[in-house]
Point group: C2
Chain length 234, copies 2
Amino acid sequence: MENEYKHIKVIGFDADDTLWVNETYFREAEAIVGGLLSRYETPNKIDQELFKMEIKNLPTYGYGIKGFTLSMVEMALEISNYEVSNEIVAKILKIGKEMLNKPVELLENVERVLTLLSKKYKLIVATKGDLLDQERKLEKSGLLKYFHHIEVLSDKKEENYIKLLNHLEIEPEHFLMIGNSLKSDVLPLINIKAKAIHVPFHTTWEHEIVKEEEKSNRKYKTLTNLEATLELLI
Amino acid sequence: MENEYKHIKVIGFDADDTLWVNETYFREAEAIVGGLLSRYETPNKIDQELFKMEIKNLPTYGYGIKGFTLSMVEMALEISNYEVSNEIVAKILKIGKEMLNKPVELLENVERVLTLLSKKYKLIVATKGDLLDQERKLEKSGLLKYFHHIEVLSDKKEENYIKLLNHLEIEPEHFLMIGNSLKSDVLPLINIKAKAIHVPFHTTWEHEIVKEEEKSNRKYKTLTNLEATLELLI
């Protein structure tokens, strides 16, 4: 293993798009909504307006599928100039429910990586989103047995991680976070003197994309898949 | 203080309708929705249908205002036979947002009770609902300083409390829960050999109401307000 990680005792994993597929389902939902509203606008414009609505509503709704569904409905009303049919609104509600009831699709080699890492480190999950939804996905995933602690956070900023590490009595220098989002799983950790490894997913929500200048001079590794962490950590 | 509570070291407080007003806002929302949909049904029927919709959606949405808003929209579509106007749907979304942005109205003497109890016991909050919403209310309440730990639970059943007490390394016999809901804050605690005090709020959501037979032979005290706990505990 690399010297850089010799002080690590606890590894935190992001969940959505790190342990299992998530963003793909949001993109699929957007494509369906684009189709439902195609008489009013182009798919591209609909995507843009939905994104704007999500960002506008984020302080009120927070992250997760329920807020996303409410934003889809609100966008449909506005983009249609309040002419969208009740049937389309009902279909949007149904998209949200289907997202909440999707089976959990693990990413490649997740179980193998967790099995090996759990022999050497204490593993935790630190994820954001709807509480019930995240708990349910962890249950469905069959991965609960690998984790000492599950924390669903309302956001993943520096202060959220500081609180979490305090609560679990973990020193930042003993903590490594692994996740797909530079903004949520990597940069805040580097800023509080913990370690982070970036394992990008093929799709990233626009809101999670970090500008080049924010990335510069940061100390973290980027790996192409979760399995590649084993070489560094075992 | 009463002998019965001599082993108590940690007191858990429910939040909604125990520390601050909550249910009142749901009842107000229902009254407004009843008005908006009055051309389709009587207020009583609308209330009933909304309740049915909430219970149907509870396994998918969980507790909290976002799920409640989605259920209001779905009920409005159905009760109007898919004829409700977009303007009314928009108003329902607005009711949900206003609920999420309401100021926090503390119940009587809450600060005094917490000040006195926090000198003798470790205090925690155990609440259910939307994560971000509950965190925001605690921030707004100004009560955070009294609590060692805040736990937002997806549900308040025996297993949720067992997990919480394990996680915080608290023995059930050292734990007392205080809350307004017999179903969520009292009976599950009695069943796991912890203590509970019931402080009813003037309004209880139908879903939280417990049948007489379930209450019989249970050991807990019911007090008319939070201040009355001081006599038993200090």
